[in-house]
């Protein structure tokens, strides 16, 4: 079921944008309140709950021992999946992941993979035979806009919270559990474009009238590790550059929040 915004709401939103204002009074490049809570889920190897305003996302990681891919016999395997369960919005339906869930999972996955967040060579147990498989599951409970950032932040926090359960597996070659080796801290910043205005962290109504979306994931050295333009609209080249410039400050602030919550230092 697709939700429809009334014309009057749309007009109101467009007018606000034209005046350089937002529904909730934020600045254009200001996040809603970010609340990160790591380690709430005990059976998970690592977990985080992120609340971005009223958007509410859980991320959990699980690990298992399995076979590596034939082309990367020395690397652990990383898989990210997202579920947009019908609890989170009247628009979502049960069933296998659709386009939106798949895009969400892949954008977040790209940040982690290309950003080399996890040192996957450390996840090799026996070359070509046995490696750690790391499952990242994104579970959206309340959708009020900008799932990309909520999920991306959640995944980073959950990974930093993850402990490799070596003691539970006889074939893990290590007897003690140890923290997942993390090389980089990658977080996303997602911009949306409404008419000619670009804004950060759109809430639901803003997202509904957005023409285009741009997610930029940066590591702690301000290097871009993943990007994705979404929706039907376009960005011009200049505004993509502007987004990246803005993302540097924004991401470093988010990164600090994640590190503060998870409290891991060796990075």
């Amino acid at each position: 079921m697709k939700e429809i915004l009334s014309k009057i709401t749309k007009d109101y939103l467009y007018r606000l944008v034209k005046e350089g204002k937002r529904v909730d009074g934020r600045n254009m490049f200001e996040y809603r309140d970010i609340e990160i809570k790591a380690g709430e889920i005990e059976p998970a190897e690592g977990s985080a709950r992120v609340r971005l305003g009223d958007t509410d996302v859980y991320v959990g990681t699980k690990m298992d021992v399995g076979e590596p891919f034939p082309d990367t016999p020395e690397s652990g395997v990383l898989t990210t999946s997202a579920e947009l369960i019908p609890m989170a919005s009247p628009e979502y339906e049960s069933g296998p992941p659709g386009e939106d869930a798949t895009e969400l999972a892949r954008v977040v996955d790209r940040g982690v993979r290309e950003g080399e967040v996890v040192d996957t060579s450390e996840l090799c147990i026996e070359e070509g035979e046995k490696v750690w498989i790391l499952f990242i599951d994104i579970h959206v409970l309340d959708y009020d806009g900008n799932l990309f950032d909520a999920a991306g932040i959640g995944v980073m926090a959950a990974l930093m919270d993850t402990v490799v359960p070596a003691s539970k597996f006889d074939d893990a070659k290590k007897e003690e559990d140890y923290p997942l080796p993390i090389d980089h801290v990658v977080v996303p910043a997602t911009f949306t474009k409404i008419k000619d205005q670009i804004l950060l962290d759109s809430q639901l109504e803003e997202e509904k009238i957005a023409d285009a979306r741009l997610t930029v994931s940066l590591n702690e050295n301000d290097e871009i590790v993943a990007m994705q333009k979404g929706l039907r609209g376009v960005f011009d080249y200049e505004s993509t550059k502007e987004c990246i410039k803005k993302a540097k400050d924004i991401c470093s602030e988010t990164r600090e929040k994640v590190i503060e919550e998870v409290g891991r230092e060796n990075i």
């Binding site: 079921m1 889920i41 959990g60 699980k62 369960i85 019908p86 009247p90 499952f135 599951d137 579970h139």
Partner: protein
């Protein structure tokens, strides 16, 4: 039920987590926790963490599932992949399909479905962390979420399991007790009409033990019913209070 004789479940007349035989794990319920849903409730029961949300009454899809004279209560029980020690593959399996059906039926009993013909009331139960008794926790939370959504109901369904460990009938099985115990009896109970709206049992019980288990579970459901009502009272009395204060400030 498992039969691992090496696992000790009772020591010095108490259970391994220190509970008495007829003692519940700690239960907390919070109503109205999600923004998008029409009604919601978050429940922690021992180590279980469960969210329930309600949407509706709304148009029934698919059309052929509509009932011309009443609304359909459609519950969906789902476990998060990370909710259990071994990752659960996302999506419905036979167990969750069965639980969804039983919970739907149990809830339908208390909802005045005749008020909303051709529509559906969707109830979503998400288990975020599982530690035995999730169907009872889900049903308990779902009742509160329905009430939070303003759905007319005759009562709240309270649910709790009892069972048997080492030959002793006990209330509210914990994880090991569930895995290595001898019987498990989940019960859904409607206090006002004194009706049982959910009942399952697996394992091995004599008639006397069954009665003992049921008495225990029903007693516990009454206690849980109190916690459910308290959660709703807390949710709505504060809002009323705020409004009163606002009225006072404005001199109404």
């Amino acid at each position: 039920m498992g039969s691992n004789k090496d696992i000790e479940l009772i020591e010095d007349g108490k259970r391994m987590d220190g509970r008495e035989f007829d003692e519940l794990r700690e239960i907390t319920i919070k109503a109205g926790v999600l923004k998008r849903a029409d009604g919601s409730a978050y429940l922690e029961w021992g180590k279980n963490k469960i969210m329930a949300a309600v949407y509706g009454p709304r148009e029934m899809h698919p059309r052929h599932a509509q009932e011309t004279r009443k609304a359909v209560v459609r519950a969906r029980y789902n476990m998060a992949a990370f909710s259990v020690p071994d990752r659960k593959r996302p999506g419905p399996d036979r167990r969750s399909i069965e639980i969804s059906k039983l919970v739907s039926e149990a809830l339908e009993k208390v909802v005045f479905t005749e008020k909303y013909p051709r529509s559906v009331i969707d109830v979503f139960i998400e288990v975020l962390q599982a530690s035995a008794g999730t169907r009872c926790g889900g049903l308990t939370a779902a009742s509160v979420a329905l009430a939070d959504a303003g759905i007319p109901m005759s009562d709240l369904v309270a649910s709790c399991a009892s069972g048997k460990i080492e030959g002793q009938v006990v209330l509210d099985l914990g994880k090991n007790e569930d895995n290595y115990g001898q019987a498990d009896v989940p019960v859904g109970y409607i206090p006002r009409s004194d009706d049982i709206c959910l009942l399952q049992m697996d394992g091995n019980l004599t008639e006397e033990e069954y009665e003992e288990a049921m008495d225990m579970a029903i007693e516990a459901c009454k206690e849980i019913h109190g916690i459910q009502r308290e959660a709703l009272r807390e949710r709505y009395s504060t809002e009323l209070k705020d409004e009163n204060e606002k009225d006072l400030a404005e001199g109404v």
